[in-house]
């Protein structure tokens, strides 16, 4: 029996009610949102439920949305994969400024470095992580460089005009 999208949706809603929202088919991957306080439970349920069986954590990505409202400043995007049915799923959770979220290292060993990377680059605090320290940047660094406000180049440069080289509303 193939794992149907509707089935996953109904199952999640019946268990978590309004804690899970925004179900959509985003191109080829089914995705939804969960609230930060439920995210650990949601992922555990996705992993341990016999029918859902999303047993493989493909990726965990942090994203920064400085233009969103204050409760949606950061996102963590989990990609899970059920190899048996060959179904992928994307779960997102949005976090406010000074983001904190429970770790999922107790569910997936590979989440360890993924979460350290998100901490390193976005400053997302994974509560309960055994070794939350910087991983790719040096320990002495104070900022979180993948945040949007962190400039990629020296701001004092005058030879480059952002209107031609950067992101402006006009070139959308």
């Amino acid at each position: 029996m193939a794992l149907e999208i509707e089935f996953i949706k109904e199952k999640m809603i019946s268990k978590y009610g309004n804690k899970v929202l925004n179900f959509e088919m985003s191109r080829d991957i089914f995705s939804f949102e969960a609230t930060p306080d439920e995210i650990h439970d949601v992922i555990r349920f996705l992993k341990e439920d016999e029918q859902l069986n999303f047993h493989f954590l493909t990726d965990l990505a942090g994203v920064h949305f400085p233009d969103n409202d204050e409760n949606h400043q950061f996102a963590i995007v989990y990609h899970l994969h059920n190899w048996v049915e060959n179904v992928r799923i994307r779960v997102k959770t949005y976090l406010p400024e000074s983001p904190e979220v429970p770790t999922i290292t107790d569910l997936f060993l590979c989440a360890n470095w993924m979460e350290r990377e998100a901490w390193d680059f976005y400053g997302i605090n994974f509560i309960g992580h055994p070794q939350l320290k910087r991983i790719l940047n040096m320990e002495e660094m104070v900022s979180h460089p993948m945040r949007k406000e962190f400039p990629m180049e020296d701001g004092g440069r005058t030879d480059k005009d952002d209107r031609f080289f950067g992101r402006t509303p006009a070139n959308c």
């Binding site: 985003s26 191109r27 080829d28 991957i29 995705s31 047993h55 493989f56 954590l57 493909t58 990726d59 990505a61 994203v63 920064h64 995007v77 990609h79 190899w83 060959n86 992928r88 994307r90 997936f108 060993l109 590979c110 360890n112 470095w113 993924m114 990377e117 680059f121 055994p130 070794q131 939350l132 320290k133 991983i135 790719l136 940047n137 040096m138 320990e139 460089p145 993948m146 962190f150 990629m152 031609f164 950067g166 992101r167 402006t168 070139n171 959308c172």
Partner: protein, 411 residues
Amino acid sequence: MSDLLLPPEHRYAKIIEKMRNEDGSELSILNLGPTHPATHGIFQNILLMDGEKILDAEPTIGYIHRAFEKIAENRPFYQINVLTDRMNYCSSPINNMAWWMTVEKLLNIEVPKRAQYLRVIVMELARIADHLICNSILGVDTGAYTGFLYVFQFREKIYEIYEEICGARLTTNMGRIGGFERAWSDEAFKKLNVFLEEFPIAWKEFENLFERNRIFIDRTVNVGPISAEKAMQYGLTGPNLRAAGIDYDVRKAAPYSSYEDFDFDIPVGQSGDTYDRFCVRNAEVWQSLSIIRQALAKLPEGPYHADVPDYYLPPKEDVYHNMESLIYHFKIVMGEVPVPVAEIYHAVEGGNGELGFYLITDGSRTPYRLKFRRPCYVYYQAYTEMIKGGMLSDAIVILSSLNVIAGELDA
């Protein structure tokens, strides 16, 4: 503060104070790397040793971190390709093609069959180059230099084929949105055919040299084994996962670029040890050769790139003499191309496992967020557990058999 947050050498110093060896002598700390001739790349591991036995290890990574994800957020799509080259530089065409396929998925571009088949050929060539390096270097690390010399010239031959296709050798920057930047020359096909004739003979010799070799078997069997369950937990993909007995391969699970047209097997191992990883890679090379032969035999006629003037740079002579081409050229270079707002995840089977691109666009010419799912980064976490309790010389062998590429690890 948890001890784990300390620098590993401080943490181990504390353990050394408390613990003694069985014979009463002290434990010791060994700093392996970051630049050590035996590690083939910049890997640092701080080891806690009991004589020659490894009790604990902590890898330090990031020595060649180049902030590709940040740079990518400031570059238009066609300029990101050169960043992907520099991740897994042993098989850069796979990374290139994976990136173009991600963009094509975003823009809903249908690539012509011929271009898809050519991509399959070049990706499988890259896979051969990748596995060839990994396995022959594994031989070098166990003391068998000969095999390496036998097959390494064929990596040169593969690079010559790349050169015919795109002009570059190591960091290829191959392909464009929708296909290839130029048609493959006759010379490229000629070189490819010569390679297909000569390489299997050398690879057979290489296999014969190792597969039943007493010394090699002693050095690799039961060294660094990982169970299937643990392998999944640690996020292993690619040959390292298949050596543990799980037949997950993105080429079969979610075929891209017409992989569904070809008939090939997924070799799997049993114990997930170094010998199994070696054998799985060997077997995959034969499968890759078979795929290339099938693709060449079935290669359809047709264009080598999709007809997408919005994204595919026109030929230079047209830009100078043709108004429309000039306009398209200008628009592409200045970033006035339509890009949908979307979220895309695209994965391919890279040399080391599932190479994924998670791309968020906001309608502008640059990605809003681009996350590389780098297989090395994910599975290198398992390394500590694999070397614990082993010998120092085994740690070196395990590292080469995992084929951790520094560029991909650190991105």
